[in-house]
Amino acid sequence: MDPKNREHLDQAVRHLNRLVAASLVIVAVALVNIMAPDTAEKWWGPEPEMAAPMAEAPEVVSDTLIVDGIHVASGLVVDDGFIQVKATCLACHSAKLVTQNRATRDGWKKMIRWMQETQNLWDLGTNEDLILDYLAKHYAPDEAGRRPNLPTPTWYVLED
């Protein structure tokens, strides 16, 4: 191939590459917008003029936002049983009552029985096993000693 033709071809390939790359970006953006509107909003951000009033209003966490396997609005782990736990437990109380507690499957079952006996929790039917499996898997007790180490503090320089 003579050098001149070769240069033309190279140029064409470079153009094509750019075109493909640009198309990919457009497709990716479109996909993000379709599949994960919250992520898209995070990327593109709210309109700048929205920023000031938004700072005043409480930040709203979308119910569909999931980060690192955690459903951000509730703090619950997203796994099999999550939907049932969300619909059942969060009907009456905060997700924090789940996420701050630790128990074995049997321990969680006792809590459910207590709620059924005293707090008007309904019969969970076939959802019960799903819910118990989920809770026992993700909110199981840690093995701690008689006194655990202090949690690592945020270190700061103490001034007088």
């Binding site: 409480p58 930040e59 709203v60 966490v61 979308s62 119910d63 569909t64 999931i66 690192d68 396997g69 459903h71 951000v72 609005a73 509730s74 782990v77 997203v78 796994d79 099999d80 999550f82 939907i83 049932q84 969300k86 619909a87 059942t88 969060l90 009907a91 009456c92 109380h93 905060s94 924090k96 009552l97 701050q100 507690n101 630790r102 128990a103 321990g107 809590m111 005293t118 707090q119 008007n120 309904w122 039917g125 076939t126 959802n127 007790p141 093995e143 701690a144 000693g145 008689r146 006194r147 655990p148 202090l150 690592t152 503090p153 945020t154 270190w155 700061y156 320089v157 103490l158």
Partner: protein, 440 residues
């Protein structure tokens, strides 16, 4: 990266709305019209989730997310009237604890006073119409006082009184106990103003049959059923007749914050704060131990005899918690302080001991191997916490923990490890610890 399956309620409905109905609610709708709930399947569950019955349920299209769940936009936990650094353990009902360094004031200000609610804050307050009724087996007949009558008829008293949740410190028990995982911050000492419970009981003609006084408040059960009592605990008549047991309407000279019982509450210093009923409307003078919700085992009860961790304890083998045990906090500095080698560190905090007073206060910088005595002030009155201060030096650079230990007037001291395990995780009065780093 997490490999967990990520699916939200919207995604589930997007995939297959009919299947989502079935999975979530056990709902099956009419296969022809695709509306309603077949054999009522799923209706109750969905009704509970949206917080009330679904009217026109038979017309509800299949595969529709109830609107209230479709947009459960969660707001961050900002609580009106409370310091933003308080730690929210639960927002439904509100349970909020105070980090130790925010409890440094002699009297805990309203915005730093912990919140332990069992139900929802009363939906409305009609203070002009607010009445307190005294009834029960041990008064001749029920008698009611309006808030103004209470203020006019009885003499006013003010005391600094320590309130601590029976479950303060629960987070350290192992095996874990269910409930709000309080660390150290379910305690505060404020100045409370009101009338003596004793004066009001005497005006109601309390008889010698009186054994217990139970309270009722206006808070709303989590199920929003107005007939369901959230919590109704009480105290033995001897504690009720003490000078410092108040029916209070002021905290630190101001209206009591709504979350802490506005406009009227009981304040019973030194006992689990659950006996200090909030949003108070009725006192029942009983001829037996009061039997309202959360008086029964295992609530606010501990085993009659020490048990091995994890033991299942029968209700009849448990006893009601009365006085809280001796305890203290390091309120200055905040944990995580870094100081240069050679500099001495000032420490301060509070100590309290339920019905007793604190007699000695000590601090250790070597994990309890040696202790030095701290300066301890008297309480302004009985059942108020006591201020302590100390100054310590450190022998070499490195990581230290400062531990604080109080001893009460009966010679009982705080344990250095978590005390006796109990099913509900009450009464953890282990020494408070903070981390300090001494730099070269």
């Amino acid at each position: 990266m997490s490999k967990k399956r990520k699916i939200g309620i919207h995604a589930l409905y997007a995939q297959d709305p009919i299947e989502a109905d079935r999975q979530l609610w056990g709902r099956e709708s009419d296969p022809q019209s695709r509306r309603g709930f077949l054999k009522q399947a799923g209706l109750a569950a969905m009704g509970m989730a949206v917080g009330g019955p679904i009217v026109f349920a038979k017309h509800m299209p299949a595969g529709l997310i109830p609107a209230v769940l479709a947009d459960p936009a969660a707001t961050p936990f900002a609580l009106e009237g409370k310091h933003p650094d308080l730690v929210v353990l639960n927002d439904q009902p509100w349970n909020v604890e105070t980090p130790a360094h925010l409890l440094d004031d002699d009297l805990t200000p309203a915005d730093k006073f912990f919140v332990r609610n069992n139900g929802l804050v009363p939906p409305e307050f009609n203070v002009d119409q607010w009445t307190l009724t005294i009834d029960g087996e041990a008064v001749p007949e029920p008698i009611s006082f309006t808030l103004n009558e209470l203020k006019e008829r009885f003499s006013e008293h003010t005391y600094a009184l320590t309130l601590e949740c029976g479950g303060n410190g629960r987070a350290e028990f192992n095996p874990p106990a269910k409930g709000n995982q309080w660390t150290t911050g379910a305690v505060g000492c404020a100045e409370w103003t009101g009338v003596r419970l004793r004066d009001v009981l005497e005006a109601a003609g309390v008889t010698s049959a009186a054994v217990y006084v139970g309270y009722y408040g206006k808070d709303l059960h989590l199920t929003k059923n107005p007939d369901k009592v959230v919590i109704s605990r009480g105290i033995p008549i001897a504690k009720a007749m003490e000078d410092e047991t108040l029916i209070a309407w002021k905290m630190n000279g101001e209206d009591i914050p709504v979350l802490n019982g506005y406009p009227l509450r009981l304040v019973v210093g030194g006992w689990p704060a659950s006996v200090s009923g909030k949003w108070l409307t009725r006192l029942s003078v009983r001829d037996r131990v009061h039997d309202g919700p959360k008086m029964e085992a295992p609530s606010y009860r501990v085993p009659n005899h020490p048990v091995e961790p994890g033991t299942e304890v029968k209700p009849e083998d448990m006893k009601i918690i009365e006085s809280m045990p001796v305890k203290s906090l390091i309120t200055y500095p905040k944990t995580g302080a870094m100081i240069p080698q050679g500099k001495r560190l000032n420490l301060r905090g509070h100590a309290w001991a339920g019905d007793r007073s604190v007699q000695r206060m000590e601090v250790s910088i070597d994990f309890g191997a040696t202790w030095q005595t701290a300066q301890l002030s008297d309480a302004p009155n009985r059942l108020a916490w006591q201020r302590w201060t100390a100054e310590v030096g450190f022998p070499e650079p490195g990581y230290y923990e400062v531990w604080a230990r109080a001893t009460d007037d009966a010679g009982v001291a705080q344990p250095m490890v978590v005390p006796g395990w109990n099913p509900k995780g009450y009464l953890n009065n282990a020494t408070h610890r903070i981390a300090v780093k001494v730099t070269e």
